[in-house]
Symmetry: C2
Subunit: 186 residues, 2 copies
């Protein structure tokens, strides 16, 4: 009875989680059997780690939130000019890729409480944008909430281009940064 699983169990857990993310990204309605197969694991084992489907979704959700939090930290949103910080944030978030598409395409994930309510990361981003409003580096006619929403949309666009149009990642990132920068510049 350990607080955090180690060794084999931790690895299996991780494998199921990754397979679920990968599989659900391509097929939002994938069954647990599909996911088990993708993880090279028996369906029974999946149930052993995640008693019901909701538990698995919970885990994915938590995993995603955690990654977002780390990325936000790394972006050092309070340093430098607002636009520079915004660029850093874009770059960090861009690294997510698959996980990202999943968050947006999975039914009943964005509508969950933990995604609906304003997170610390949201607040940091909003603060950053408002800082830009003050500095005069971000178009004051664009409400913070709009810029926030836009940022995620453009990121989504970038990843879509990578996935569907086979655009090289670096090109997608460049376009993403350029687009956001132009849109928010006063």
């Amino acid at each position: 009875m350990t607080a955090v699983e180690t060794g084999v169990r931790a690895r299996t857990r991780r494998a199921i989680l990754d397979a679920a993310i990968e599989r659900l990204t391509k097929q939002p309605n994938a069954s647990l059997a599909d996911i088990a197969a993708a993880a090279n694991v028996g369906r029974t084992t999946v149930h052993r780690y995640f008693p019901e489907r909701a538990d698995l979704i919970d885990a994915i959700s938590a995993d995603a939130l955690e990654k977002v939090a780390h990325a936000t930290s790394r972006a050092r949103t309070d340093e430098g000019t607002a636009t520079a910080a915004l660029t850093r944030l874009c770059q960090e978030y861009f690294e997510f890729g698959d996980l990202f598409m999943l968050i947006f395409t999975m039914p009943d994930l964005l509508t969950r409480e933990e995604w609906q309510e304003e997170s610390e990361d949201d607040r940091r981003l909003l603060r950053l944008i408002e800082r830009g409003h003050g500095e005069g580096t971000i178009d004051a006619d664009m409400p913070a909430a709009w810029v926030q929403s836009l940022l995620w949309s453009v990121l989504y666009t970038a990843w879509e281009q990578v996935r569907e149009a086979r655009m090289p990642k670096h090109e997608a990132l460049t376009l993403c940064l350029r687009t956001v920068a132009k849109a928010v510049t006063p």
Copy 2:
């Protein structure tokens, strides 16, 4: 035996279709029973018009494609400057609202053949953007496919703001137009 249904049948068909759009927008996994209830119609009747679920989805898809086609026509994409035409297109597409969110959030719709392949509307938009590249009114560093994708993303953002953040439609449209314009301007 008429080629096109008229009177009662046409109205019932339309009612089911509209209810399906409305219901599925809020709950992508809504059952046929839900939809029937929303349309004030028996579940049997739904099956009479759309033998199986896939047929209903087909109809929604066709309906959406038709609306997009009409809107694209109204925007007169070949007249005026490219940016002006792009603005008109934005305005026309913006009118869709619900249908719109549905297209993006419904599993197995965007992955369908008729949505994957390049439509006449897509070609018109791409032509418009390239025309802008030539005119020098649209940033040549932004590939047409990117601008196209971006347009839809920003529209989505706008509608999301209306739905989730209760932003007035006119404000959302204004921000949408402004954002697209700034992003594509050289």
